[in-house]
């Protein structure tokens, strides 16, 4: 089984909220995510994504940082208030001016630099999906 297929196995029952303001990138990346995840929700900025998240606690959030209305950092802080364990991956541009130290402090699951490289995307998703799956298994076990 290839790594892609293994990833598909891990993510096929998971949901993801993907936040990106730029439409072309958003469309392409969400298509990629749809290849793996059970459900892909899309937000075009922090504010909208927060609304979506209130209704649907997805297993994973993947978000851009620089966005109009509400930037990624603010959104993550808001989400952390209600769900400190939320799994989050940040996609950000090389050299961008976001405050890196502050971002590090948010205890994220990973970073992806834009433009995204496929192997890094797959590896990170694999790692994070495994953790989510394990957590969910533990919860289920505890339930039993």
């Amino acid at each position: 089984m290839s790594i892609n297929e293994e990833l598909r196995e891990l993510t096929k029952e998971l949901t993801v909220l993907y936040v990106e303001d730029e439409s072309n990138t958003r469309s392409q990346i969400s298509q990629i995510l749809q290849l793996f995840f059970k459900e892909v929700l899309v937000g075009i900025n922090g504010e909208e994504a927060l609304e979506i998240y209130k209704k649907n606690h997805t297993d994973l959030i993947m978000t851009d940082l620089t966005m109009p209305k509400m930037d990624g950092l603010t959104m993550i802080k808001e989400i952390r208030k209600t769900n400190s364990a939320q799994h989050i991956i940040v996609l950000t541009a090389h050299n961008s001016s976001e405050n890196l130290m502050e971002t590090i402090d948010l205890q994220l699951d990973g970073f992806l630099l834009k433009p995204i490289k496929m192997d890094k995307l797959i590896t990170l998703l694999f790692k994070v999906a495994k953790i989510i799956t394990l957590e969910q298994k533990n919860i289920n076990n505890e339930d039993i």
Binding site: S2, N4, E5, R8, E22, N24, T25, S27, Q28, I29, Q31, I32, L35, T66, P68, K69, D71, A93, N95, S97, K114, P115, I116, K117, M118, L121
Partner: protein, 660 residues
């Protein structure tokens, strides 16, 4: 033709002279009298006697600052010159200076004559009340290239109180008279000699009105005279003004302008116009050079005609400067034929280009009705006037003139090298600014390109994954390929836009302000919206156009927008905006850029336009941006750049063509 002269002693002797020479029987007789006694009573007396005894002659008289008869120069005497013509017709007339408009005076006078066969017009005007230069412009309305204009302005022995001319028994205290000579057979030639040397630095006339000069190099004119010649000499103005005139250059001719009156408001009145903006130097007369120069005037005239009569209208300054040597100028011409004339307050001269009011010159009118040409004997060509070149005064004047000019040249050189250095410095800051702007541009390209790069990269990943999963369909390949191509085209277009901005100085042309703003938004728009800054463009004046270098204006606007963008960086604000307004008013045209980025702290507000002032962290700002922007607005658009603080931020107001 011939001319005879008489030195006035009393009325009886004058009448005797007239009768002895049968002048009253001559049909075409021109009588000029030059009176060193500038009183109305005396002028009236002389002109009346002449008119009674020579009723058919054309009698023109003028008061003087010295008289010329042959090679003799007198002062306070009266010389009468009578010219009899055989092959020419004379006409004469008079015009009064009624509307205090010297142009109308000249025009009125000249239009009383008809041009047919007119060879020369000899004019005398009163010396103080008339603007000789404007008068000649009036004369030019008819004279242009058609005939020679000569003559001069009346003097009054340097008193500058009352100059008088007279015509056929009538005296005139404010006006002009002229005689014209019409003939197919008359040969005429005019010539002039100058000989004054320019000294010192070129200066600019910064305030003048016609022949009244207020300021030179932004200093009151009297202060300039005091500065360069000292208090003693300055106090002797205007009398001494004629010896230290201002020198200007027109049509390649050095023209001197002597001051003839000092007015209460500190301005000086000159014997001719000096135009605001004109470059002048001081002139200094050196007797030796003046006499040497005038030595050749006779040969110049003889190259064209063999003169039978010569009239000399020479400047009072020459007589006063050359003093006992003033007759030396006349020796060579007096050997040839009858010479008569006077020392004026301004000489009239004309050539194929224009009519000129001269000061400080000796002008000559030579006439002949014969066709013979004279061969000048070599002995006369080499006439040595035995001028005492070792004269101590001459040596010192020469030396001082030389020294002044050497100092002026050295000083100018030094100044030029300073200017050169400053230019280099300016060039360097300009380069630095250019580099900073390039940096800005690259930043903007990065923003512009990042998104298509992300999208293209994601598309690649998408296809690759689909393929590995066996889900890749032809449609998807087509769609992705088209998408990638389109993105690449956009990126390429971005490069073109930027290249346009980076290209060195485009040409100066008329451009629309809306176009400028549009192209700036094309390259900066993404960057600003990435920073969550909303840009509103308000066009109140749709067709606002400017003449100049569009790229320079682009630099200014980009600079202000970049500053606003950087100011927002340090600001927590959800409603960041920049409003660019092309203002409705037509004059002066104006662009306003307003932001709510917090504004500029009061304590540094005064310094923002200073070069090298920056609040940005080390390495980020050159501090040259607003300074250069101001410079561009002032130099390239004759405008200004204003900073206006607002409650939440700043307005930068760019004004165009303020001093249109």
């Amino acid at each position: 033709m011939y001319t005879i002269t008489h030195k006035y002693i009393d009325n009886k002797k004058l009448i005797k002279w007239i009768h002895e020479n049968n002048l009253s029987k001559e049909e075409e007789c021109l009588v000029q009298f030059f009176s060193g006694i500038p009183t109305e009573e005396f002028m009236q007396e002389i002109t009346t006697i002449l008119y009674q005894n020579l009723p058919s002659a054309h009698i023109l008289g003028t008061t003087t600052d010295g008289e010329i008869q042959g090679d003799t120069v007198s002062n306070g005497q009266v010389i009468i010159s009578a010219s009899v013509f055989q092959k020419s017709k004379l006409k004469s007339n008079i015009a009064l200076h009624e509307k205090e408009n010297s142009f109308i005076l000249g025009k009125d006078l000249v239009h009383k004559f008809d041009c047919k066969d007119m060879k020369v017009m000899i004019c005398f005007t009163t010396g103080i009340t008339i603007n000789g230069e404007i008068f000649l412009k009036g004369v030019k309305t008819l004279s242009e290239n058609n005939f020679i204009v000569t003559g001069g302005m009346a003097g009054d022995n340097a008193k500058f109180e009352n100059t008088i001319i007279s015509y056929n028994g009538q005296i005139i205290t404010d006006g002009a008279i002229a005689v014209t000579i019409h003939s197919k057979y008359l040969h005429v030639a005019n010539s002039y000699k100058f000989g004054w040397e320019s000294v010192g630095l070129p200066m600019r006339i910064t305030k003048s009105k016609r022949n009244r000069v207020y300021e030179i190099d932004n200093m009151p004119i009297m202060d300039i005279y005091k500065k360069y010649f000292g208090q003693t000499v300055a106090q002797l103005l205007p009398a001494i003004g004629i010896q230290i005139p201002l020198m200007i250059e027109r049509h390649g001719k050095k023209i001197a302008r002597a001051s003839i009156n000092k007015l209460e408001d500190g301005s000086l009145l000159f014997a001719g116009n000096i135009i605001e903006g004109e470059i002048v130097r001081f002139g200094v007369g050196q007797p030796e050079k003046i006499i040497n120069d005038s030595k050749f005037i006779c040969h110049e005239i003889e190259e064209t005609i063999n003169p039978e009569s010569i009239f000399v209208y020479s400047c009072m300054a020459r007589r006063r400067l050359l003093d006992t040597k003033s007759h030396l100028e006349l020796i060579s011409i007096a050997k040839k034929c009858s010479v008569s004339g006077f020392f004026t307050y301004g000489e009239f001269f004309s050539d194929e280009h224009d009519n000129y009011l001269f000061n400080e010159t000796m002008t000559l009118l030579a006439m002949s009705e014969s066709n013979e040409r004279v061969i000048i004997p070599d002995t006369i060509k080499n006439t040595n006037y035995n001028i005492d070149t070792n004269n101590n005064d001459n040596i010192i004047v020469n030396a001082l003139t030389h020294m002044t000019n050497v100092i002026a040249v050295e000083w100018k050189k030094k100044l030029n090298s300073e200017i050169e250095k400053n230019k280099e410095r300016e060039q360097a800051s300009f380069q630095k600014n250019k580099l900073a702007q390039m940096g800005e541009m690259i930043g903007m390209i990065a923003h512009q390109w990042r998104q298509p790069l992300n999208a293209i990269s994601a598309t690649g990943i998408n296809i690759s994954l689909l393929s590995s999963m066996g889900k890749l369909e032809d449609d998807k390949i087509q769609e992705s390929s088209e998408f990638i191509q389109k993105q690449c085209q956009n990126m390429s277009a971005t490069i073109d836009t930027f290249m346009n901005f980076v290209k060195p100085a485009k040409e100066s042309k008329v451009f629309q302000l809306t176009h400028t703003i549009e192209s700036i938004m094309q390259i900066m728009g993404t960057q600003l919206s990435n920073h969550n800054i909303k840009v509103i463009v308000k066009v109140e004046h749709e067709n606002a156009v400017i003449m100049g270098y569009e790229d320079l204006l682009e630099q200014v606007i980009i600079n202000i927008l970049s500053n606003a963008r950087d100011a927002f960086e340090e600001l927590e604000c959800n409603d960041k905006f920049i409003t660019i307004t092309i203002c409705a008013q037509k004059e002066p045209l104006c662009i306003m850029i307003e932001d709510n980025a917090g504004g500029i702290p009061k304590e540094i507000k005064e310094k923002i336009f200073n070069p090298y002032f920056t609040t940005k962290e080390q390495g980020k700002g050159t501090g040259i941006g607003l300074f250069m922007s101001m410079d561009i607005m002032k130099k390239s658009f004759k405008g200004d750049l204003e900073y206006i603080p607002t409650k939440e931020g700043s307005i930068f107001k760019m004004l165009f063509n303020l001093n249109k």
